[in-house]
Symmetry: C2
Subunit: 217 residues, 2 copies
C-alpha cells in the first residue's frame, strides 16, 4: 500500500534517504557486536545491500560524520540516526486486533528494542478480553476511545480485517493518535493531521511475481 502522504514534509532529509535509515540502523548492532567502532561506506554497503556511493551521499545529507581515511564512528552515527528517526524516546502504541497477526506484533522483540511499546490491545472477541499477553492487557474494542485517551497513546496499529479497518482507524483518530499503521489490505483515510501508513502482505508478493513473470519469459 502506498503512503498517500502529505504532511509537514521535511525540508531537511529526502524521503528515500529517510526510508533507508532503518537499514543502516539495523546494521549497527552487528558492527557493535563485532566490537568495531568505525565503519567505512563500503562496510555499510555490504551490510545493507545499498551501494557505497549511495551510503556516502545519504550520510552526508545530514552531516559530516566520517573521517577521511578512517570511516564513520558507529556510535555517533547510531545516535544521530535515532534522533532523526525520533527513536530517542519511547512511543506509546495501541494494537487493535489480537488475531495471529496481532499476537505476532505483541511478541515481536524488535519493537521494544526500538522504543515502541504496545501499551494496550483491543479485540472484539469476548473470550480474549481481560487476558494479559506479553504483559499487555486486552480490552474490548468498545473501550478503545476511552483507554487510548487515558493512556495517551500516540500510534495505533490496525490488525483487523479490511471490513473493519476504517472504523477502527476512525476510532483511533478520534481518540487522539497521531499516526496509524494499517495491516489490512485496503486504503484507509484520516485527517491530514494524522499520518497513515499501510503494510500490505499481498502487495509484496505481487511485486515478487511481477519480476518472476518477467524473468521467466
Amino acid at each position: 500500500m502506498p503512503t498517500p502522504k502529505k504532511h509537514p514534509e521535511s525540508k531537511t532529509i529526502p524521503e528515500p534517504v529517510a526510508s533507508r535509515l532503518p537499514n543502516y540502523l539495523r546494521s549497527f548492532v552487528g558492527f557493535e557486536r563485532e566490537g568495531r567502532s568505525t565503519v567505512s561506506s563500503q562496510d555499510l554497503a555490504e551490510a545493507t545491500g545499498i551501494r557505497a556511493d549511495q551510503v556516502r551521499k545519504d550520510l552526508a545529507s545530514f552531516g559530516s560524520f566520517g573521517q577521511r581515511g578512517i570511516g564513520y564512528d558507529v556510535k555517533k552515527l547510531d545516535g544521530t540516526m535515532r534522533e532523526i528517526l525520533g527513536l530517542n524516546r519511547a512511543w506509546r502504541m495501541a494494537l487493535v486486533g489480537v488475531g495471529h497477526l496481532g499476537m505476532s506484533l505483541l511478541q515481536y522483540g524488535g519493537f521494544a528494542k526500538a522504543g515502541f511499546r504496545i501499551e494496550a490491545a483491543f479485540d472484539q472477541d469476548p473470550s480474549k478480553i481481560g487476558w494479559e499477553l506479553e504483559g499487555v492487557k486486552i480490552w474490548p474494542v468498545q473501550s478503545l476511545r476511552q483507554v487510548v485517551r487515558d493512556k495517551q497513546l500516540e500510534i495505533g496499529i490496525v490488525a483487523v480485517p479490511s471490513s473493519r479497518a476504517q472504523a477502527v482507524a476512525d476510532a483511533l483518530v478520534d481518540a487522539g493518535v497521531k499516526a496509524v499503521l494499517n495491516f489490512a489490505p485496503c486504503l484507509i483515510t484520516a485527517p491530514n493531521s494524522v499520518l497513515v501508513r499501510g503494510v500490505d502482505l499481498s502487495s509484496e508478493l505481487e511485486h515478487l511475481t511481477y519480476f518472476l513473470g518477467k524473468s521467466k519469459k
Copy 2:
C-alpha cells in the same frame, strides 16, 4: 527493508508503476461490487490515494485502455494488470516458521484469492510437526529441501527469527525456489538468480516516527 534487487529488470514498465499496480487491483473489487463497469482516473485516484494524473500516466504506460469521456473498463484493466503481475496462474509457496506470524500468513485470506498457495509449512518445534493448519501440513525444517523440491515450490516465505533467517533462505534457494519473501528484520542474500524481498515491521514504524518527530517540533 529495501529490496537490494537486481534482476532481469523490465524495460517495459517502470518500477514505481509496478509497485502501484497492486493498489489499483485492490480497488477493483470495490468497483465490481458496486456494479461499475467503467471508472475514471478520478475514481481510481479517490480509491487508491494516488493522484489522477499519476493514475493516467501509469495506466498509459502499458496500453490504452480508456475511452475519452467515459473512463476505463474495469474488467479489462483488471485482467491486464493481473497478467502483468503474473497473477494469471497459481504460485506454489513454502512457509518457514509457524509462529504467530506464520500462522497469520497461513490464515490470511488475501493470498488464496490472488492465487498464492502455501503448499507446505515448516517448523523446528517438534510439537507442531505433523499438524495440519488451514489445510497445510507442517513439516520439520530438516525436510525442507526434500519437500520443497518434490512439491516444486517456487516462492519461500521466511518467518523465523533473524538468527536463523539466512540459513533458512539458503536452504530454500538450494531447494530451488525462485524468490524469497523475508519477514525477519535483517538482510538476507541470495544468488542473483533468486529474487529477495524484505518486509520489516520495525522499519515501517520508524518511518512513521520520523515524520512524527518532524511535525512535532
